[in-house]
């Protein structure tokens, strides 16, 4: 304590006699409050800027929807200035629909099995695996889908005699890859909410003689329903906005066809393919309009989820169990199971077998119970097996593809090409984004946590949550518009690491805010009270007590966000632009550290090489794509492993902001 800063820290003196000090402190507090509010305002400004820019750039078409037949035609034909949006809206919705149909039962089933049935060590291992699945970059999913899933589908189509226009790729393939991508989200969050169901609920149900399946179906799942619905909607939001995996598998066919076997195109995919080459101004603004539509769809899903959940949470929770018990009333005769249970409750003294209405009813309950246990186990396996397929396949192909050249050469080297420059580029941009996103995110979280009762706080929280659900491709459009070709400057700024980092920053902020706010909320209130009781100011309390106490959890959230943005592709393709060369080094000879000037030029990043090389027919490039995917995947996995070892906490729940 002797090294405290100059105004000596004597709470009593500062409270009773301090005149100069409180002024000093008031300035600090004012500055602190200003800094927090600014961070909150930055979040709001980014979101408003995003919306304003999309409307501004899409205005030429938006103002004349009829002329360009945006909603009255199913044709997308830039040559004729017809921009029918339905093909893409249908593609986006149908792929997400397929994904949800597959993923929701699997995810909830797997979560129920893990939470209610699985032994402790199976639970531990599986939750970890599912978190890994949630952190795989989407371009890696796309790559795997392109080389593994689509050919399998093609073979299956042939076996059953279906004629496909696209030999494997199409709406179905894209929907399935989306399902594999979102299952871990649903599982992880549903698992959390299932675990949060009080043990008394389960015990009560089992004590009444309900089987395990009946307990899961009638007690645990209804109790956890709001959380599960929230998880599904978050997953849906992610599926709607997914770009890379879909564009690699959907077939890019711009016709409306309601067969799931046919090719299609999604909103995110057409933007990624066409935005930078739009031949006319109207085509460009039509594409930005697609982005706006996508933004509206995802934001609506997001807001709807929150509305549903808040309404459901509005009910007192225990009533659910009460309802269940009341259903057990034998006079209501709901089902055999209910009936049997009703008898069991009424006379608990005699032996169970005799209480059951009939032997057959009892047996059917037992059968149902064991059957459903197997079904739930099946759900879990169906969730975890793709992980092994993906990890296994990429490790198998990737590990042999990694050599020194991959790390030490750039894509233009005469003596053999590599991806070293792209790795440096990705790391640089992620660090650069973190440099801005962490202070902004943490300060915004402090604002949310410390100034709870202002109207602006509610706005900031709402916007941070909505921003977290904005598809990354839409953020790419926005950053391209403000940092690559700003409308107010006749001289374009061009692709740069700054623009790339800025888009990553926008992706990182909501995750950081969410993680930091949750972490700070978990700091015991007594610590805060003790700090204030000693006379510390608000800023002192936050910086010396709250943040240090929450630091491990904040770090976890930040690392998680970094891992996620490291795998981003779509927005960087628009903003950083990619390059074949090492960025100009800061110190000649040390290629790993880019100079400050080079950040203003086109900048390489590894995910683009995975995307481009994966489609290539050239063996060496394909090998590099495998190697790159393996390196990226290992990096993200190691990051996750490190976080888990360091924090010992489950991760996906911390990243729910997306």
């Amino acid at each position: 304590m002797t090294q405290e800063p100059s105004p000596p820290h004597n709470p009593i003196s500062s409270k009773s006699e301090g005149t100069a000090q409180p002024i000093n402190r008031r300035i600090y507090d004012l500055l602190f409050s200003f800094a927090c509010t600014t961070a909150g305002a930055i979040v709001v400004l980014i979101a408003l800027g995003l919306l304003a820019m999309l409307i501004y750039q899409s205005w030429p078409v938006l103002s004349q929807l009829n002329k360009f037949q945006v909603f009255s035609s199913t044709e997308w034909n830039p040559n004729k200035r017809i921009y029918g949006a339905w093909v893409f809206i249908y593609g986006t919705l149908s792929t997400s629909f397929i994904a949800m149909i597959v993923a929701v039962p699997l995810g909830v089933g797997a979560a129920a099995y893990l939470s209610e049935i699985a032994p402790a060590n199976v639970r531990r291992i599986c939750t970890f695996l599912i978190e890994l699945l949630a952190s795989i970059p989407s371009v890696v999913y796309g790559f795997w889908g392109y080389v593994f899933l689509a050919p399998i589908l093609r073979e299956i189509f042939q076996l059953v005699g279906l004629q496909s226009d696209t030999s494997g790729q199409g709406i179905l393939a894209a929907g399935l890859i989306l399902a594999i991508m979102i299952v871990p989200y649903i599982t992880a969050i549903s698992f959390d909410v299932c675990r949060a169901v009080p043990a008394t609920q389960r015990q009560g149900s089992l004590a009444l003689g309900a089987s395990r399946w009946q307990t899961i179906w009638k007690v645990v799942l209804p109790y956890a329903l709001p959380g599960i619905i929230a998880a599904c909607f978050l997953a849906l939001g992610r599926a709607l906005g997914e770009t890379m995996a879909v564009t690699m598998l959907i077939g890019n066919v711009r016709y409306l066809s309601f067969s799931p076997l046919a090719g299609g195109d999604s909103i995110a995919s057409v933007i990624a393919n066409s935005l930078n080459e739009a031949g006319s101004n109207s085509e460009r603004s039509a594409l930005v309009l697609m982005g706006l539509i996508l933004l509206i769809i995802t934001a609506a899903v997001n807001i709807l989820a929150r509305l549903i959940v808040s309404r459901m949470y509005g009910n007192p929770k225990p009533s659910r169990f009460g309802k269940f018990v009341s259903k057990l009333n034998p006079f209501r005769k709901k089902s055999h199971a209910d009936l049997a249970l009703g008898h069991a409750t009424s006379s608990a003294a005699t032996s169970y077998q005799r209480l059951v209405v009939s032997d057959s009813a009892y047996r059917s309950i037992v059968r149902q119970n064991s059957l459903m246990t197997w079904v739930l186990l099946g759900c879990l396996l169906a969730t975890v097996i793709p992980l092994f397929l993906i990890l296994g396949y990429i490790t198998y192909r990737g590990i042999g593809s990694v050599d020194w050249n991959l790390f030490l050469k750039d894509a233009n080297d005469k003596t053999g090409t590599g991806l070293g420059h792209a790795m440096v580029g990705t790391i640089t941009m992620v660090l650069l984004a973190s440099l801005f996103a962490i202070p902004t995110g943490v300060m915004a979280a402090v604002y949310l946590n410390e100034f709870r009762n202002r109207w602006f706080t509610k706005l900031v929280r709402f916007i941070a949550e909505v921003l977290g659900g904005v598809p990354s491709i839409v953020i790419g459009i926005y950053v391209y518009a403000v940092m690559v070709r700003p409308p107010w400057d006749s001289d374009p700024w061009g692709n740069s690491a700054w623009a790339g980092a800025f888009s990553l920053m926008i992706l990182m902020i909501p995750v950081t805010v969410r993680g930091a706010e949750e972490a700070m909320r978990l700091v015991p209130n007594s610590l805060r009270q003790a700090s204030y009781a000693l006379g510390a100011s608000q800023s002192q309390t936050v910086f010396r007590i709250i943040i240090p106490a929450a630091l491990p959890a904040i770090t976890t959230g930040v690392l998680l966000a970094m891992g996620r943005v490291a795998g981003e592709t779509a927005p960087l393709r628009l903003t950083a632009g990619d390059s074949n060369f090492w960025p100009q080094p800061l110190i000649p000879g040390i290629k790993a550290i880019p100079s400050l000037e080079s950040l203003g030029e086109k900048f390489p990043f590894i995910t683009n090489y995975i995307y481009e090389y994966s489609k290539s027919a050239e063996d060496d490039l394909k090998r590099q794509a495998w190697g790159g995917a393996f390196v990226l995947l290992s990096f993200v996995m190691l990051l996750n492993l490190a976080i888990r070892l360091a924090a010992g906490k489950r991760l996906v729940s911390a990243a729910r902001a997306d």
């Binding site: 030999s167 077939g251 890019n252 440099l435 010396r544 240090p548 400050l596 203003g600 481009e612 027919a617």
Partner: protein
């Protein structure tokens, strides 16, 4: 003590951020000639562009950062000055030319290479295939859907063609290769021209197949999926060991695509005065499709580097020097990469055209 260290770190971080913002605010744009220039666009020229870039770096130390992304992308990004130069296999059309004129003035087209677009196919048990323009037009407009269609069997009597649906692969993005290909099909089939259209982004009919991005995207797809057909630059087919068809030319001969056959087509086509848009809009642009002559391969195209006539000397000078080298000395790499070298008289015309670039500073 830990908490104190933390607040210090926070202050230092803020200072660092501030410094970076200030430094980034004043980029050093003036001064000596650039050591790196950015280009991008056509995937058609990408292999030779990468070769030139590697070689030229050894000679002059200039790094030419060429990223393939499709011709349409090259035109738009060059027009928007996001790229220093673009590449396209389709000369800029009227609207694009006017847009560029508004943005920063006249754009000049510099032919950099000539190549053949081949029809790559992957059909089990079929080693060689002969096709006519009309047949290809029928496949790509959805009139012929089976590999064992009588019309295909008729000119390929010895091939063992299966009763499978043809999956026709086309470009997912706006592409100069699509332009060359559809221009040819439009010339041989009025119906195709009417129904599908000619351009960088033709309206491919429903149900014929699917779109893939880039020459490499189509090549990869055709290589990995049976019963597919796709149009790609010759090198992409050769490098990836994909089989490709010989096409009947205007003189009625089936020609296997080679650099020589492309050269022959170019020599014939350049004798003709270019009267149709977009070729009539620019100097040194030629339509090479469906050329006359016994040895001409009918689906050939030229790839152009495009740049504004008014250039800054910082970036413009190195670009002009690079293009001068690529279109003269650099042509020696053409044949090894299965492109056709530019004719000598064209090289001269290009040098004269490059002299017209103005440096404004």
């Amino acid at each position: 003590m830990r908490s104190k260290g933390f607040s210090k770190t926070a202050i230092r971080l803020c200072l660092l951020m501030g410094t970076i913002i200030v430094l980034s605010g004043c980029p050093n744009k003036k001064g000596t000639e650039a050591t790196r220039v950015s280009g991008g666009g056509a995937t058609f020229v990408d292999p030779i562009m990468q070769k030139w870039s590697q070689e030229y770096k050894q000679i002059k130390g200039l790094e030419v950062d060429y990223k393939k992304s499709g011709s349409g992308n090259g035109i738009q990004q060059m027009t928007g000055k996001v790229l220093d130069f673009g590449c396209t296999d389709a000369p800029m059309n009227k609207e694009q030319t006017e847009n560029a004129l508004k943005e920063a003035g006249e754009v000049i087209h510099i032919p950099v290479t000539i190549g053949a677009v081949v029809l790559a196919f992957n059909v089990e048990g079929v080693e060689s295939l002969q096709l006519t323009g009309e047949l290809v037009a029928d496949i790509y407009s959805g009139k012929i859907t089976k590999w064992n269609d009588p019309k295909i069997v008729e000119i390929n009597p010895s091939a063992n063609l299966p009763d499978k649906k043809i999956v026709a692969v086309y470009r997912a993005e706006s592409s100069g290769t699509s332009n060359i290909f559809s221009e040819y099909l439009g010339k041989v089939s009025a119906e195709f021209k009417e129904k599908v259209g000619v351009g960088t982004n033709p309206k491919w009919p429903q149900g014929i197949g699917l779109g893939q991005p880039g020459n490499d995207g189509i090549a990869g797809y055709v290589k990995n999926n049976p019963n597919t057909i796709g149009y790609i630059e010759l090198l992409y087919a050769k490098q990836n060991k994909i089989k490709y068809a010989s096409i009947r030319n205007k003189a009625g001969k089936f020609i296997t695509p080679t650099p020589e056959a492309a050269s022959a087509a170019a020599a014939e086509a350049m004798k003709v005065k270019q009267e149709n848009e977009p070729y009539s809009l620019h100097e040194l642009t030629y339509s090479l499709t469906d050329a006359v002559g016994e040895q001409s391969y009918p689906i050939c195209g030229m790839s152009y580097a495009i740049l504004y006539k008014k250039q800054s000397s910082r970036k413009g000078k190195p670009i002009v020097e690079f293009l001068r080298w690529a279109t003269s000395e650099g042509q020696k790499f053409a044949t090894e990469l299965d492109y056709a070298p530019l004719p000598a008289e064209l090289t001269k015309a290009i040098a004269a055209r490059l002299d017209q670039v103005e440096f404004v500073d």
